[in-house]
Amino acid sequence: MDDISEASDAQLVTMIGRYDEVALAEAYRRHGGAVFGLARRVLNSAVEAEDVTQEVFLRLWNQPDRFDPTRGSLRSFLLAQSHARAVDAIRSLNARRNREVKDASKTARSGYDMQHEAWDIALADQVTRALEELPDEERQVIQLAYFEGHTYVKVAEILQQPEGTVKSRIRSGMRRMRAVLNEAGIQGVET
């Protein structure tokens, strides 16, 4: 393959497994912005988000076999890594101490505005629509869990709702989003 920009994500990961740094650079070019963007959004800190982004791509470099192309896209795999590390950081005492204090309920109410940040162009409309179509209570629990890094137990505590209710809302909200994205033809979210 003469032009690495034409390689599929799966091919890139195979090349990374052969210690091809150019392939890693191409993976970074394609997905680094999303990895960094999600980490920055969750951590509310560009500096910490850079650390997370480094960890995600170094992990891809050291353990490329952890990505299984039959289970989903590389973008989603990397975003899951980014989110998990961001959440780990945010749940730690130091991260919390350094983080800008936010009022959770205010954040949840203003969550719609977050949708207007720089979404990846290909998904922006569909994801926005999927979020818009969620009932408020489902959107709220997903935003508190995903973008604030809270466990469902903590979300229940914040909202003063039973844990079972929060679990149920997360599940139904995610499935509803999947249906909308699936209907829009977004790959990888078929049931």
Binding site: R29, L58, H83
Partner: protein
């Protein structure tokens, strides 16, 4: 954990909204349950779409990542020859020698023993104004290079970029001395210099400041032989660590 309990928590797991203990037990179940695994994969894609906002990448972040891939003591990875077109596209795709993990171990062991012994001497003779002196130095250099090329066990390292195969070549002799054989590196503007690096024990070690238009470069590396030579463009005076992508590199074959 029972199937129904795990299945109920898959959406929360996809959002990282479970605690560590729950994560472990759910993942334990998912590993043996195709239905849960399929559901989780699908929900992770939804989570990926949800978090799919793209931010401009911070300047220098890639440099940090690429420099840290050598941090674990491995020496197998040659330094990448990368160039970005306004940060938007990797324009270099040079294929390079691939070493497998078994070789990593060998090189790591060798490198670990000697990494602390690296001594760098750099001689860059530029801007000579005396023609006679130039000629004299040139003859001496050519003589030394010729002698190095005639030394048993010498190694020739060809430096290339993605677009040019013969940007420079060096000869290394077993006692650690090295010489520039030839260079087609373009002349740099005032304020910049080429800098030669050797990857030893997985880390780039400065070997020589080469000047703006390298013609004569000699150096000595004590200790382990580098596994790779690379050239970067740095501010005049050089840099303790590479601050830019390599413009040329070449594997040091045994």
């Amino acid at each position: 954990m029972k199937h129904d309990e795990a299945y109920e928590l898959l959406a929360a797991l996809a959002l990282d909204a479970v605690d560590d203990h729950e994560r472990l037990v759910i993942e334990e179940h998912v590993a043996t349950c195709p239905k849960c695994r399929s559901e989780l994969d699908s929900l992770l894609e939804v989570a990926g779409a949800l978090g799919n906002s793209v931010d401009p990448l911070p300047e220098g972040l890639w440099t940090s990542i690429s420099s840290r891939i050598y941090d674990n003591g491995d020496v197998a990875h040659p330094m990448p020859v990368l160039a970005y077109d306004n940060g938007a596209r990797v324009v270099s795709s040079q294929r390079r020698h691939v070493r497998r993990p078994a070789q990593r171990t060998v090189f790591s062991s060798l490198g670990a023993v000697a990494a602390a012994l690296i001594v760098v001497l750099a001689v860059s003779l530029a801007n000579q104004t005396n023609r006679a002196s130039n000629l004299q130095h040139q003859l001496v250099n050519e003589s030394a290079t010729s002698a190095a090329l005639a030394t048993p066990g010498h190694t020739v390292v060809d430096m290339a970029s993605s677009t040019q195969a013969d940007l420079a070549s060096f000869v290394l002799v077993p006692d650690g001395r090295g010489y520039l054989i030839s260079s087609h590196l373009p002349t740099l503007p005032v304020g910049d210099t080429y800098q030669l690096w050797g990857v030893i024990n997985g880390k780039p070690i400065s070997i020589a400041i080469m000047g703006t238009s390298p013609r004569k470069v000699t150096f000595t590396v004590s200790g382990s032989k580098p596994t790779l030579l690379g050239i970067t463009v740095e501010p005049t005076g050089g840099s303790p660590i590479p601050t830019s992508a390599m413009v040329a590199s070449g594997a040091v074959e045994d």
